[in-house]
């Protein structure tokens, strides 16, 4: 099965109203060219799940600035003033989720769990509207799974089967999101033949990766 695709093919995957996940922490580990392809596709009313909304000109920030997003689910929006502005004006809905809870919700969505019980947020406004469950005398919040139709990942290296290796702190949410979407697209810096990545070094197995886009368009 050939998983390698062009940026045009990436663009054709997006639809209005989709739920999309994107890896990255302040833009580090965000597949910038896939984000650009999404902008190019001109889709709107997207629900976007990511750790943060990065900056106006980096990470997933440009999707917010260009008003493609109906709702964002993130742990931090402070570095992109446009997110706060659209939230306050009511143009966009923002659901703020503690970072560890966001990671666990994505994990739950990708691993067949009905949710997770976390003590994080108990006694704060995060608990509003959530079921509280006491286990052995300690209170936890039931946090529900998150899934997406498409996950946009960034890896350093892939083989043609989609086995991935991430680089430095650019790993962050990428491996989690690889499990939690119907279609998983990865932007890689380097593509090698099957067998060139030692199975011991694979961080995300290729069975989870549907499409591979090689950064810069070269294959």
């Amino acid at each position: 099965m050939n998983k390698i695709i062009s940026l045009e093919e990436v663009s054709s995957i997006f639809r209005n109203g989709m739920t999309i996940m994107a890896g990255g922490f302040m833009g580090v580990g965000t597949p910038q060219e896939l984000v650009a392809a999404m902008l190019e596709a001109n889709v709107k009313d997207i629900t976007l799940i990511a750790n943060d909304t990065a900056f106006v000109d980096a990470g997933i920030g440009p999707l917010i600035v260009n008003k493609r997003v109906k709702k964002v689910i993130a742990s931090h929006i402070g570095t992109n003033p446009e997110t706060g502005r659209q939230m306050i004006s009511g143009e966009m809905e923002v659901e703020l989720v503690p970072q560890g809870t966001l990671a666990e919700r994505v994990r739950a969505g990708g691993s067949g769990l009905g949710g997770v019980l976390t003590p994080t947020g108990v006694g704060t406004i995060v608990e509003e509207g959530k079921e509280k469950i006491t286990v052995d005398g300690r209170e936890y919040l039931l946090e529900k799974p998150l899934r997406a139709e498409v996950a946009l990942l960034k890896a350093y290296k892939a083989d043609k089967a989609g086995n991935l290796i991430y680089h430095r702190s650019a790993r962050n949410f990428n491996p989690l999101m690889a499990l939690a979407a119907d279609t998983v697209i990865v932007q890689v810096e380097q593509l090698v033949e099957v067998g060139e990545i030692d199975p011991d070094e694979v961080m995300t197995p290729g069975i989870l990766v549907d499409k591979i886009y090689v950064q810069g368009g070269c294959q």
Partner: protein, 216 residues
């Protein structure tokens, strides 16, 4: 250390540094807390955890690697022996009690150990990032902040007014004037910073507190 402490932030960071033990795994919030390692004695080596996915956060040495940043998104380094992981594992470490100490800034802290540092309704809503998980899971939570707000009002309150980051989570509050320990019976003034008298602390602290016998 013989470094002269010239401003409140330096005084606070230097005092927080005394709380660290050799070998502690430490997570530092952005801003003032990142100054703490500058004041560690040579005999104390801590391992810094960075919420975006590694242990062994270190100063930037050599060329900037765009894939290596700290929790504030700034270029950073990793020490020999460090390790990278994903966000899930990073917060398993944090929530699971594998981080010994976290040092966070604060907008308000109170006598019940509550902390507010993530939003001011109608004004500033940056999001909680990893702060709620850190205060919930780290074994020791130190709030490092200036004693009063810019308008002079106390940041140490009987009860926080801003939305909380965590309820009953704070162990120690360090300011440029004093050090308070949070106990079941409220705040205990443990220490006065050099040159500060008890009257000044009483005057600038809204919360009631008891005074440790160690202070005369």
């Amino acid at each position: 250390m013989t470094t002269t402490l010239v401003n409140p932030k330096q005084i606070i960071a230097a005092r927080v540094a005394k709380e660290m033990k050799d070998g502690d795994v430490v997570n530092l919030g952005i801003g003032l807390p990142t100054m703490v390692p500058n004041y560690l004695p040579e005999s104390v080596n801590v391992i810094l955890q960075s919420e975006n996915g590694y242990v062994g956060l270190g100063p930037l040495e050599g060329d900037i690697d765009p894939d290596l940043v700290n929790a504030g998104g700034q270029p950073a380094g990793i020490i020999r022996g460090g390790a990278f992981f994903d966000s899930l594992f990073s917060f398993e470490l944090i929530r699971g009690g594998h981080v010994d100490v976290t040092v966070l800034g604060g907008l308000e802290a109170d006598a019940k150990g509550n902390l507010a540092n993530w939003m001011v309704p109608g004004k500033m809503v940056p999001g909680m990032g990893g702060a709620m998980d850190l205060v919930t899971g780290a074994r020791k939570v130190i709030v490092a902040m200036e004693h009063t707000a810019k308008n002079g009002s106390s940041k140490i309150l009987e009860q926080c007014r801003l939305p909380l980051t965590g309820k009953g989570v704070v162990d120690l509050i360090v300011t440029e004037l004093a050090v308070f320990r949070v106990t079941e019976n409220g705040l205990v003034l443990e220490e006065l910073q050099e040159g500060v008298d008890l009257e000044t602390v009483k005057e600038k602290t809204e919360a009631s507190f008891t005074v440790s016998p160690a202070i005369r």
